[in-house]
Symmetry: C2
Amino acid sequence: MEENKDITIYDIASKLNLATSTISRALKDHHSISEKTIKKVKKTAEEMGYVPNTLAAGLRGNKTKTIGVLIPTVTQPFLSSLISGIEITAQKSGYNVIIMQSNDSYEAEVSMAKSLYGSRVSGVICSLAMKTTDTSHFQQFVSNNIPLVFVDRVPKEFNTFRVIIDNYAAGFKATEHLIEQGCTRIGHLTAGSKFGNLYTERMRGYLDALKKHNLSESKELIVDLQTVTYTEGVKASNKLLSLKTPPDGIFASGDIMAVSAIQSAKKKGMRVPEDIAIIGFNNDPISEIIDPNLSTITHPAAKMGQISAEIILKNIKSPKKEDVKEITFLNTEVLIRESSKRK
Amino acid sequence: MEENKDITIYDIASKLNLATSTISRALKDHHSISEKTIKKVKKTAEEMGYVPNTLAAGLRGNKTKTIGVLIPTVTQPFLSSLISGIEITAQKSGYNVIIMQSNDSYEAEVSMAKSLYGSRVSGVICSLAMKTTDTSHFQQFVSNNIPLVFVDRVPKEFNTFRVIIDNYAAGFKATEHLIEQGCTRIGHLTAGSKFGNLYTERMRGYLDALKKHNLSESKELIVDLQTVTYTEGVKASNKLLSLKTPPDGIFASGDIMAVSAIQSAKKKGMRVPEDIAIIGFNNDPISEIIDPNLSTITHPAAKMGQISAEIILKNIKSPKKEDVKEITFLNTEVLIRESSKRK
DNA sequence: TTGTATGCGTTATCAG
DNA sequence: CTGATAACGCATACAA
């Protein structure tokens, strides 16, 4: 059985009759080392099968070339695309990504934040758990100059980098689009609204759009899901569609909800978009597949991941920062497809 | 500006007039430390805001309590569920998960394997890149007793743990199901078959099922996608449906392909399942949403993740192993929904 | 351009 | 039950 004892720079040094510091420098192309030595060192390192121990390097420099990602779950299309964007960007700069799922639990988030801190990540990207209201567990990163970026589901009052879309404006645009299609009684599917999150913002946009166009709002037209699942969505949709006067349009705060609305409407014999126009949110893959194709609001997940990672990387380089942390807004667009197009 | 210098066990030790070794032990409930001391240490550690530096611990013990996950991408539903299963299981045992996406590139996979090794992960779970044929870059883990589990897309000849489904049997079952529904001319959508991967196995099952039931196979009935995307699927489906004698059934090796087949068929005015019965593979979320609901083969992603993680954890504990690495087969089932149900 | 020496924070060994 | 000390592998300040 071949028990490869790990090769260290010390092994290379003794083989080459050089000092470990020379090896260390040569391996990272330090300018003060001669071309010749660098070449020689790299060659034998390769030959001996040297693999740098990033733990040791990390301990030494108190930096690890890993970015911690703390999100509710990896299985939602938006979030897995976000991760993908982060991971690709990080990888390009030689950074790794460590992932933790809070499953929307506040307690899990607190403990994971601590764990991330313990592994000395170089930066943290977080999308808050649904249940999180207090964010003091993120203070440790700020206090220690570890770049912190909140993305998508962000706290209101925490002074750090944030990468978001304008949910209010998006909700407004979506609703206004329905109005332009001739809808006058527009329902709204939302979720976890009591936590004052991004869904609330979208709803604000919805309400203001109604107001602007002199459409009366009504409590019965707004259904608040506990969890964003297809079956919950179906239940909520049916509630909406079973009203004495059902809506002639629905703005759903997520594509899954929108899709369940489409299916429920079809099952009830209603035509989409003729009898009821529907628009979702996120531009999940399914929106292009469902029949009729779902109109939706674009939500640039991978791009948000990329930008978040870039902010982290930039701020690792220049640790000392003024106390100004910008908020990056990404554009969203109304993507008009079949489910809402009447004209 | 509050510059929290990190609290170390040394700080706790000097505050309490104890040795660092005592602190270290107390913190992990070592039996040789008095209850009283343990309590005292833990209390002041808490008060001082001590966060253990896992890097240092890792360097010392050459083990890191992290599991490396190397997969083609995180955005496929099967893989994100796999990750989720891994992450949850790992977290329960206090392990973290570090993720890398090969994007189906062999070169990326090689480099990432090296990087994982460099960060001294305690174990590795991998689903091979589509393009990978040679797997020698995983030898380093085996040689150093780092548990390695291949999952789903696994190499044929590598002697290590494997967690898979019986793709051959599943392909056979799927095809036979269509035959039982009365299909006599069954098309097949597959992908990247030249790399001798799991798709090939499913196709073998398909072919053998045809043979068993005396149905003739035909080259024109098998379409091989380069990449598994919806649009590619539509192209492939149309090829199949435009044959002089189109098939009356399709077994697609993935749900995305199956869904594109359904949509293409509907667009051509064919009824599903009456004119053409369709079955997919994976039981992706979309299969329950598409109209008609897609029959499919279950593919227990989260469970496979969980089991893979459990194997890793078990084998970290008892490092020395006989040279026997079991292959774990998970059950798949034919999930009959609307798209294939004729009787 | 290269070498020497030290410390990062923890744990394990050995001693008391 | 507790303490002193070495070691993990690397990177840097300082020296040559």
